[in-house]
């Protein structure tokens, strides 16, 4: 058996690594570098009903150990994705997850309904955590009731499993996770970016035209690990973990914390081969650490802590 294999609702993954939404377009760019079939799954950019132009530039700014982005859900719209992007991906076997966004619950429902009919779409990632849009996005992700309502609505129209992507910009992420689980979510994706800002000393203004942006990259990993650790102990549904994965050991850390699979975002920008390189390194590292399978380490951390009380 393939030791790297992990199975999540709707997703039979030959390894636990997928690119994170928004960091991989619809796959075409990185397909120039390697065969996308190497990926455990492919998570594509957020799709909204209408075509969106996103925010004005500058849209990215580097920060110590991370970067801010304020793309603002730019995407070609549902119709175009149905007619061009998803058909292009048909030549790949890796399961596909489509990130779904909108202003109103009805928007989310429309995208989810149509997208989930497509035969090569294996799951939906409900984006209730985009910090860079005025309506929708994070507004749905910071209140447990609102998040649960939306989840329920989308579940009612989706033909594929629904993963809800949570925002870390909340006081109590466990409460929100539990609420969306009760509302029928098949899994969770966490975390989306932390809200941040950088000011350009030369102009005195925020560098991003949108002023604030979402912080991603190595620096946010401890926040992601903490949230996954806490949430995984209170929900039964699996978690796709992300936030600052750059090295093979980061993947293991996420899985020990409680993630069943992982997504790699910012690291793709630094190394276009980030995902396949991580996959290659993973098997080797399992040997070194003496683990038989990846699934056996999921949630290992809390299991150990509960067994023998930490010191």
């Amino acid at each position: 058996m393939n030791r790297l294999e992990v199975n999540l609702p709707g997703l039979v993954m030959k390894n636990p690594v997928m690119p994170a939404s928004g960091c991989f377009g619809f796959g075409q760019e990185y397909a120039k570098f390697y065969d996308l079939n190497r990926l455990g799954a492919i998570c594509v950019k957020a799709v909204t009903v209408e075509r969106r132009s996103g925010n004005p530039t500058p849209r990215v700014a580097e920060t110590p150990g991370g970067m801010l982005n304020a793309i603002g859900l730019q995407n070609p719209g549902l119709e175009h994705v149905l007619q061009h992007e998803l058909p292009w991906l048909e030549k790949y076997e890796s399961p596909i997850i489509v990130n779904v966004a909108g202003n109103l619950p009805e928007d989310y429902m429309e995208v989810a309904r149509e997208i989930s009919k497509v035969k090569n779409v294996n799951a939906i990632e409900l984006n209730i955590s985009c910090p860079n849009v005025k309506e929708g996005g994070i507004a749905f992700g910071t209140n447990a009731q609102t998040a649960a309502d939306l989840t329920e609505k989308v579940k009612s129209v989706s033909k594929v499993p629904v993963y809800v992507k949570l925002s870390p910009n909340v006081t109590d992420i466990v409460e929100i996770a539990k609420a969306v689980e009760s509302a029928g979510a098949d899994g969770l994706s966490m975390i989306n970016t932390l809200l941040g800002m950088r000011i350009d000393l030369n102009t005195g203004k925020p560098i991003l035209a949108n002023r604030t942006g979402g912080l991603s990259g190595a620096g946010i990993k401890p926040v992601a690990i903490r949230m996954i650790y806490e949430v995984s102990q209170k929900v039964q549904i699996p978690i796709i973990g992300m936030g600052g994965i750059f090295e093979v050991d980061d993947i293991l850390e996420f899985m020990m914390a409680g993630a069943s699979a992982v997504a790699v975002g910012t690291a793709n920008f630094i190394d276009p081969f980030a995902c396949p390189n991580l996959i290659d390194g993973l098997e080797e590292r399992l040997d070194e650490l003496g683990f038989d399978s990846l699934t056996s380490i999921v949630g290992r951390s809390s299991a150990l802590c509960n067994l023998n009380h930490v010191r």
Partner: protein
Amino acid sequence: MRLENMMITAQMEIAPKIFQVTLRGALAQTLETPGQFIHVQIEKSIDPMLRRPLSICDVDMDKQELTLIYRVEGKGTKRLSEKKLGEEVNVLGPLGEGFPIEEVKENDTCLLVGGGVGIPPLYYLAKQLVKKGANVITILGFRSEGDIFLESEFEQLGKVIITTEDGSKGTLGFVTDAIHDLTEEYSVYYTCGPKGMLRAVENSIVSPGYISLEERMGCGVGACLACVCDLAEANVETGKVYAKICSDGPVFKAGEVII
């Protein structure tokens, strides 16, 4: 498009804060058009973390060498300037669509207009144009006499007009002043420099032309949508209303995108 560790084989400060660096590696031979750029990982670290886009200034296919000219702006370019001969940087490239020169014919006259660190990509362009037998007129804008670089290199390829903002050398003022004064005819222009300059150049010239844009970048390969600009008209084929500077550009036809 390759990913390769390239070795620094030369590095020097050619004007205050302006450095010229030469990188050696097989990637150099894969350059397609003048005006393409490379995405440089200054060091494997999380600070600086992102790659830095830098234009290709010159290529020596035989020696497998690329030359870049860059200004020390922030952390990344500072670190690059501190690198010593023999050290390596990881390079992703060549990237983007450069200046199209297919339509230029022998004896055509081409106008090149560059400002500051927008000048470097024009140099390899000028060499290629001259190779095709075209005449090249170059207008180079600087702040002051001390900031001038590449002047003699361009002079070997054609007529060069220098403008300085303080008038310490050449024409006093901006490149657009030199454009107005120009008596020669030209069939096409190519320009690269700060946004304000590009706008002014585009408005000053009626001949067809090409402009090279800059924007803060994430991936450099078209995947993250950090670097978009608006198209003047939606693309009829794709319905797209925007272009990605990293992969659709950095060079666009004048008027094609909104600067």
